[in-house]
């Protein structure tokens, strides 16, 4: 019978001890995943909006593709980015392999389709409500994109958080392109994989608990941001 109380007490002790090593790993995880999600949002949200309001040939096919790419396997993304960034690959001169930047790139590839697909849905719904009004004001489809994105920002937060959830939780891509190098590219998920492979299951689970706690904290922070801004808006 496995003892499930030990990982919880271990997690609590790790947090209370404020271990510098663990803190470095947590901060790198946040830096990599938040950077990746922000970049992915800058690409994915306008892309989703264009897919929502645009009328161009191949749009339906593109929508299906973006939706399907939400299911990209992280290992495959990691492998492709590895082959691109490898010294034997076309982008080897950039010397990015085994750096946090390579991890950010891999996660951007993973997360962009998720944000684009969810944004498309949000904007499409919103456009259904607004289209007539915008057209009557003489706003073109393309010109209506910024307005729709801005008005849909609360709903788009969910797309952002879904992307963040994917980025912070994945291990397959970052372990290949980052190499899980101690103090350089070691993040929460690769540490958990490493401790599992060492047979330190309680420690691995404790780190998992901390990872979930961080995800909750980030979600709560975004929720607060959203709440406080709404208050300002209504004041």
């Amino acid at each position: 019978m496995q003892d499930f109380t030990e990982p919880f007490s271990l997690a609590l002790r790790l947090i209370l001890a404020g271990d510098a090593e663990l803190l470095g790993i947590v901060l790198l995880s946040l830096r990599v995943s938040l950077s990746a999600v922000l970049i992915a949002a800058l690409i994915g949200m306008p892309l989703g909006a264009v897919l929502a309001v645009g009328r161009f040939p191949g749009r339906a096919a593109l929508v299906v593709t973006v939706n399907a790419l939400m299911g990209l396997p992280p290992v495959v993304v990691g492998l492709v980015i590895y082959l691109l960034l490898s010294n034997a690959g076309p982008l080897g001169v950039l010397q990015l392999l085994y750096t946090p930047t390579a991890m950010i790139i891999a996660q951007v590839v993973l997360v962009t389709p998720i944000i684009a697909a969810l944004s498309r849905q949000v904007i499409e719904d919103l456009n259904g409500e607004y289209a007539e009004q915008l057209r009557s004001l003489g706003v073109s489809r393309v010109a209506s994109v910024p307005t729709l994105l801005w008005d849909g920002r609360y709903s788009l937060m969910t797309a952002f958080l879904a992307g963040f959830g994917r980025a912070i939780a994945e291990v397959g891509a970052v372990i290949i392109v980052g190499g899980n190098i101690n103090h350089v590219t070691r993040v929460m998920t690769t540490t958990i994989a490493l401790e599992t492979s060492k047979g330190n299951l309680a420690l691995a689970l404790a780190l998992g608990i901390i990872l979930v706690a961080i995800a909750i904290a980030v979600n709560a922070a975004v929720g607060l941001m959203r709440g406080s801004e709404r208050q300002v808006a209504h004041a």
Binding site: Y98, T196, S197
Partner: protein, 282 residues
Amino acid sequence: MLRRQFIGMAFALVAGLGLAAPQAQAAERFIIVQSTTSTANSGLLDAILPAFTDKTGIEVRVVAVGTGQAIKNATNGDGDVLLVHAKSAEEKFVAEGWGVERFNVMYNDFVVVGPAADPAGIKGSADVVAAMKKIAAAGAPFASRGDDSGTHKAELKLWKEAGVDVAAASGGWYRETGSGMGATLNAGVGMGAYVLTDRATWISFGNKGDFGVAVEGDQRLFNQYGVILVNPQKHPNVKAGDGQAFIDWLTGPEGQKAIAGFTIEGQQLFFPNAARKPAVQG
């Protein structure tokens, strides 16, 4: 106004986490060593590398994967030094021009670990080939790495010597996990299957369950580690000077002494032998 504040908050968050830091790291002096899970997971490299870094100012970044993957990564030029344990594959790597020269570094040995119940009745045996024949005859579960690692290659060689066709038993009593040593040990302990593992990983492994060493002490379980500089003529990015400095240190008196001095629970895990050729080949 509001919009700017909102976006500003989001960017401040990321900027605060130091998005610009990767550039700062690139300026440091470091080499990348493609190595195996046994050297990294056992804690050996963490224990001995600081002394090298203190002496030379060269940081050593270790990518710990299976020997097969480490050799492929090094072939792609994604590393300066290769530190693995599959002598024939290493010699091929050098012969094909990907590596400069191979040096012996250290050795340890493989052991077969198994459940306390010992369904194949091999506990205490010092004849690994006979033990593997017994496992096959009993149809007792055996968990293999199945990942083209050094340990996997060594295991396949032993099955061949035992005259057992494991491909035919795949999915039956012979189970290929296709993962690292630790993951395979976790799987083996979970399903009561025998596992061939290097002793270093086994001693430092934290999830032994009721498993113990069943077979050890056979000459055929010898496990030699070698170190190779990736050929800078094939890959101009290779930091030949710093990489060679690491190899010289590792195979020199300081590195060898550090390897010998690394123990877990009072047991020495690796035995330095850079100065001489291995007595037996594993």
